[in-house]
Symmetry: C2
Subunit: 272 residues, 2 copies
């Protein structure tokens, strides 16, 4: 076991480092700094195992000892990062939660351009357009992990995948799934420059989602929570499918639609 | 068109009626009063059409006119309810949103005992145990509507289905789906006193969820977001099924799991 890193002690609420870390709960500060904040041993261990070692680690003086925490601390120190020890109150202030998990970390954001993914590495990719809810976004990453997707491609103005809420809802999949942020006018030429079937859940000119002719790599796209996909986007799809709607509503929650459709695509491709 | 109801004007933030309505955003006040708060013309119209006419309607002086709003106001007046007109600022204070929709309503809660549902009225019922997230709860109601479920049965300590968040996430399905709140020790004897197959997504002693022998009425159960179902609850199930998990995680978001499983049950029962 490596020796524990040297830990800087912070005891003051107005400490500039505390203010800096806390500021990362807001998108404008994340964007400016190119960093994100993640909380909890499990999330931070997922990040480390995926190669995203925190640049800064904040430990509560009242944390429970844990071998994974020792591993995490050693990784941070080995990578030249900083380890800070502070009071539970200050950690609460940083995380904005009254009962914070015993550790938080600051990580560098990474490349989320279309160049960052290799479409041939997976049979399924999830695509979300103008998805506004960070919980839905994180849930889609989590679902992508479950169905063996390559990752999530965020089209147009979506919620920030690096927000505390999205990272938490992803259950760590934000660190392991591929992640792209792109405009539609850049995504479409990229898609058409290689193999790929673009599929959307739609009410227009659609076939039943069960038994539809899915093909790998299959890009499963859902739209904005209240508007759905713009009609021109749907028109570009290679396949429009519809799910049974037995009740009054004509749509599902966006993350639910992606999951139901994603599992059908998985089953279809596995049956071959 | 019926004549518009007489509208009480409220212009003061400290008005007791404003305080009362605003208090319904908190569970303890909803519980004590037996009332809930719902916002927006669409939700309130869904409620009215399902027979839940608001007891009190709050309109913004800056609302847009709409035929459905006139219908709503007429229904409230005809049922002896009260119609209040107030400023956008006060309506914002009531709803807690900076950009409130032009109308909010107070409704009486209704019977959510097991006696309130007829299991033979639908082939599928969703069941959630200790579900804590109001968004997940509302999403399950919305999914239930889509798959033609009879309703949602909440077991043990779940989020409040009458919270503003759950009502909103349900997209109105809270008013049209059956809704039950029960303890496990009451639910299980009720279930066994009649027909019904209890199915859970599980990792223990489970068969693949695709092609499993589902039977109507099928009760599809998911567990708490972080703990899953208690083992004794799983042991009582007639069928335990497992969904593919291709990645690192061993579970899906609870509302996603219910939807993927619910759509499979729907397809299975429809194929017969």
């Amino acid at each position: 076991m490596p020796a524990p890193a040297e830990r800087r002690q912070i005891t003051g609420f107005s400490n500039p480092t505390v203010k800096f870390i806390r500021s990362l709960r807001e998108k404008k500060h994340r964007r400016r700094e190119g960093k994100l904040l993640a909380e909890g041993l499990r999330l931070l261990t997922d990040a480390r195992e995926a190669g995203h070692v925190p640049e800064m680690l904040v430990l509560s003086t009242q944390r429970d000892p844990h071998p994974l925490l020792a591993d995490l601390e050693a990784s941070v120190a080995a990578a030249g990062g900083e380890v800070i020890e502070t009071t539970p109150d200050i950690l609460s202030k940083i995380t904005g939660k009254s009962n914070p998990q015993g550790v938080a970390g600051v990580l560098a954001e990474w490349d989320t351009s279309l160049n960052a993914i290799d479409r041939t590495s997976a049979d399924i990719w999830l695509v979300a357009q103008a998805l506004r809810d960070p919980g839905n976004l994180g849930t889609m990453l989590r679902t992508g992990d479950a169905i063996g997707a390559g990752g999530l491609i965020l089209i147009d103005d979506c919620a920030d995948p690096f927000s505390v809420e999205a990272v938490r809802a992803s259950m760590g999949a934000v660190f392991t799934q591929g992640l792209v942020q792109a405009r539609w006018e850049d995504f479409l030429p990229w898609l058409r420059a290689g193999e790929g079937q673009l599929v959307a859940a739609s009410l227009r000119d659609a076939v039943p989602y069960r038994g539809a002719p899915y093909a790998s790599p299959c890009f499963v796209m859902v739209g904005n929570e209240s508007q759905g996909l713009p009609e021109p986007y749907e028109a570009e799809c290679d396949l429009r499918v519809t799910m049974p709607m037995k009740g009054r509503a004509d749509s599902l929650n966006a993350a639910v639609a992606a999951a139901v459709l994603g599992y059908e695509v998985l089953d279809s491709l596995e049956r071959g």
